[in-house]
Amino acid sequence: MSSIRVIISCCHTGPNPAPGLGLARSLKAGYPDSFLVGKDHSTQASGLHTEFFDEVWVARPWGELHLVDHRAQIIARLEELDGYYLPGSDLEARWLAEESHPRILIPGIDIFRRTAKPFEKVAEILPVRVPAFIGLDAGDREVYNFAVDHGWKVWAKGPVMDAYRVFNWTGIQQARHSLAACWGQQSFFLQKHITGTEVMLAFAAYQGHLLGTAVVDKRLVTSEGKCWSGEITTASPELLNAVALLVRELHWTGGGELELVKDEAGILWLIDWNYRFPAWIHGATIGGINLPALLIAAASGVQPVPPRCASRQFTRVVLEIPVLSSIPLPAPPPAARSTNVPSKLSASNPSGLPALMQRLFGPEGREATSQHSDRPARVARVDSAFAQAIREHVGPSLQTPARVFLPKIAEVGFRQAQAAAAMDLPVRLTPTYSVKTNPDRRLLVMARAHGLRAEVISTGEARWARELGFSLGETIYNGPVPLNPAELDGEELSAVFADSLESFHGLCDRGPGVAKTVGMRLNAFDTGSRFGLRLGSAYRFGIVANAIRDRLPRGVRFGVHSHLQSSVTGVAEWLAQARAFVEMASSLEFASGRPIQMLDLGGGWTSESFGPFLRDHLPGLVAHVHRRLPHVEDVVIEPGKAVCEQSHVLVSRILEIRRTDWIREVVADACLAEMPLAGYFPREVYLLTAGGNLHRLVDGFDRILGRVCMEHDILAGGLNIPPDAEVGDWLVFSHAGAYEASMRYTFGVGGFHE
């Protein structure tokens, strides 16, 4: 038998292949007479059926194995062969590292701990950066604001593997649920997505000595982002030296892979780190860098055949090969479970590797420590002003569920808007309060007192604002409902923006006197929004420009409006969209010959992002507007929820406390009728006990269920409800003062409130 004998695990090769087959091909290239054992946990692991393995070993799926016995089997077989073991998955490597063996070529268990995600310690050594991140246990509102700050270009990641791209709060909740199902009570985090070119660096090291590296420049990727073809290149000397330093420091043995992204500025960001060779490893061998052979040579002292560069470029192919008669495929699944499209999981992991993940980290693994009462509740800071306000307003006499107005907190946002209007800007800034967000009389009075104008979407709202002191001359009317001026007694509005060309024609046909400024809402650039005039074709652009030129009455100012929710797009994307809007407006001004005198930028900021936006971005944006549209006299912003979402809290009482297997659920006397957007964005949740203790609830797996019989009536999740919570205690939900208030409805209380 050959002197080189290696057991290679993880041999499935599909759209998301494991490295086993590539390792085997590389070792056969380096050691043509080597004896290779392909090991996997399903006869469906396709690489087992190839000619590169001299023997195959099919173990039971990970979910069925006695793990201690299986480790003993591996070691026994290794000693029998006098060979080496190369695992093909991070998870198996981590499991095996718990009891090291010199012939299992993997890093030591301490390395897994020292290089844990999100890799801050690794980044201290390598010339790379780690994308910004936040723990998913930091508090829902903090996590949400992190995602907004990064424009919802974020990933929810598990502690070792698993990553979900998320685009909204619902996505974060789903990802957290999926991660918890697999990993139990581990630390998860949300990390910023980096846009750029992927750089995948594979390396081999033995006892801290770097043996070689290879970099792949992907040319074609699968729908899962896996490399299908690419070119092998070399790492920069700086990166090479840093990797050498790192493996020396960690005393690394085995293969490894760094997954990096190079951004437009050339900065390298560390995205992932694998503790084994990548699946594309044989591509490097084709390119003349046989890393698996280098590793075996270092461990065995037997020199391989020198690698030959067949081509720097490689591609994968799909081949049909005979199935080995000794390991036939299993029977097909029952018809009821059969689908035309196999699940992603089963397609990528016929060996049931996720089961190993669950056994190591999931509910089974955490069984001994998952007793609810053993889990200490994390103490989150409660703002003292907020605590005082809650204690002032919440007490036994309060009939719940109740929405409670907090005037001192409400005033914060209005003061910010007022201060912004007073800034020294090249163009007048006109903050307007979006009445629809919450038409509460107290808020409108407060808005007016702070110098805001009113922004309305119906004549009903305009009349309501007028009743509360806003003249129509300080009211802006936006569609989509076409304005009927007769409903406003002929009084002139400050501005009216048409949502369609038909509406614009109608306004123009009425001549002067409808509003000082008549304008149009432009469709948010390239977003597919249902609102506004579309300028996506030259033909439409020409029609719109000609309508402005030919139909807008003389003596009436012209304005344009666009609106995107900053909380949905993130501030950076919102700013980019605002600048795109300015460019479209600039060309419309040129083509129509009518100067644009009012520019309405809309709003949609969260209460937390509004202040930083005003301070850090607004002055630059207004200056840009002034440069590109020099006739603009008014820049309008429309803060709605930014100024009022924290003006109210929703107070509810606990009706029941339920214990399930390892989480606690409470049923509240509030429901989606009082908090209709519960699933769309998070709020801070507080528990006020009868004894007067106020806790902010964060960092856990407990949840608050609404009172009605709707599956989706879940008011909050991801909380840790303290053991001293009792039926009758108060639950206080923040951020209940915007659409949560204006869109509330009556449900499940025995009749309609007329």
């Binding site: 050339g266 390239d526 030259a538 020409g542 420009a545 460019e583 600039s586 060309s587 040129f590």
Partner: protein
Amino acid sequence: MNNGLVMKCVGNNGHGGASPRAAIEQAIVKLDGLRPTVIESHPGRCCLLAREWFCAQSRAHHEVSGLPAPWLRERWMWGPQHHPDYWCEVVERTTIDCSALAALTCESLRAIGEPVATVQMIEHFDPSTVQNWAHYWREHGGAYWLSGSTSYHVAVAVRALGSPGIRIWNPTVECFSEQRPLAGYGSIAAVRMLVDADSGLAPGGAFAWRGLHLRANDWNIVSL
């Protein structure tokens, strides 16, 4: 005017028996008279509006994505077209050739203030591919842009960030040409950068590209 499709090489080496360099020189002689597209304007308002819309879209896309060019390929398919081009016509078309696409790319980059120059290219394919293109173009002016196993193509040159050289952006297949092969099927055989005072690039000089120095306004054979 290739569409970037990759096909397996068939038949002979595609040079008709001539040496690779001789085949390229032969192609240069044949294709030297081709001029890049200039999009014209009618005297009325139609072309003014069309061009203004195009520039607005270019600037807006640049603000949103940071990239001025990719939206063009999303909007226009590659294929044969009739010449000459007018702004009011080209914005209504769904299919344009590589020369028109390069002209639009130049306009798009100028709209955001980026220096840009047209780059004419001669590319290697094989007789089968060239014959197929000739048939495709039969109804649209014929095979005036094909020679032997080579084809004429138009791209644009932009400044390389962080270095004194240029990069060549191929708007038809949306990639930079720095990683394209210099030998074999689909390789670049020769390039001619057309640099004038409007390009924003210093006219008359030489431009570094892939370790070569390209002479402006002259054919440079780059094939290996």
